[in-house]
Symmetry: C2
Subunit: 108 residues, 2 copies
DNA sequence: TATATTAGTTCTACAATTTAGAATATAATG
DNA sequence: CATTATATTCTAAATTGTAGAACTAATATA
């Protein structure tokens, strides 16, 4: 198995999938990313990252069977796997631990 | 000026520079990285990242004037700039905010 | 039932970050 | 001054990050 490294953008997208729950499909994720970061992102960037995350085993996905409001293709809904969640937690804990060692930030 | 994005490895290295203070030179940073992550890293990886971080204005550096124990080239000591520190804090705050929105992690 | 409209994914390509390791430089010591 | 130890600098390649065009499918409406 490959190393389970997590890039910056990958980490944020993984977190967004967790936050969005049932609504975790590419378009919505891109929207949410933009509203939370004030930073533009292309839909292609989101899709290819979501694919990579799936290949690594951090996400699963399935086509939504529902009927959209106006029309359009069916959504692909993403879900975090147990491994994905663990990797996310490890990344968080590691950063927290580093911040605690940073002089002047120990109790802030 | 380019966008001030911070990659995953860049962020960790920046934090390590802050933690190491006077001892923040490439070799030591690499050692510290390995001991904190249980993950091997090449010295070249550290050097090129430190350079990039400097070009972005997140780090400054100067040659140490001291004499080492046995021999060897003089160290290049790195220091975080005010911008570097701000970028680091922003990255941290953003992640914290995302975790707070993640159902099941709000108070943990 | 053909066509326009809307919503969404897939594909292709390129830029930036991350990674490794060889080459080189410098200082102390015998 | 040759050898050894300590570091940096350089070169190159793999992985991530990014953009946008092409494509697909469902619905509405004429």
């Amino acid at each position: 198995m490959k190393e389970t490294r997590l890039g910056e953008f990958e980490e944020v997208l993984l977190l967004l999938v967790g936050i969005l729950g049932e609504d975790a499909y590419a378009f919505k994720i891109a929207e949410e990313f933009e509203s939370q970061t004030q930073r533009a992102v292309s839909i292609g960037a989101v899709h290819s990252t979501l694919n990579r995350l799936s290949e690594k085993g951090f996400l699963t996905s399935e086509m939504g069977s529902s009927s959209p409001e106006r029309g359009g293709r069916r959504k692909r809904i993403y879900t975090i796997t147990a491994i994905g969640r663990r990797v996310l937690e490890e990344a968080r804990d590691f950063k927290v631990s580093l911040w605690q060692q940073y002089p002047g930030f120990a109790n802030g």
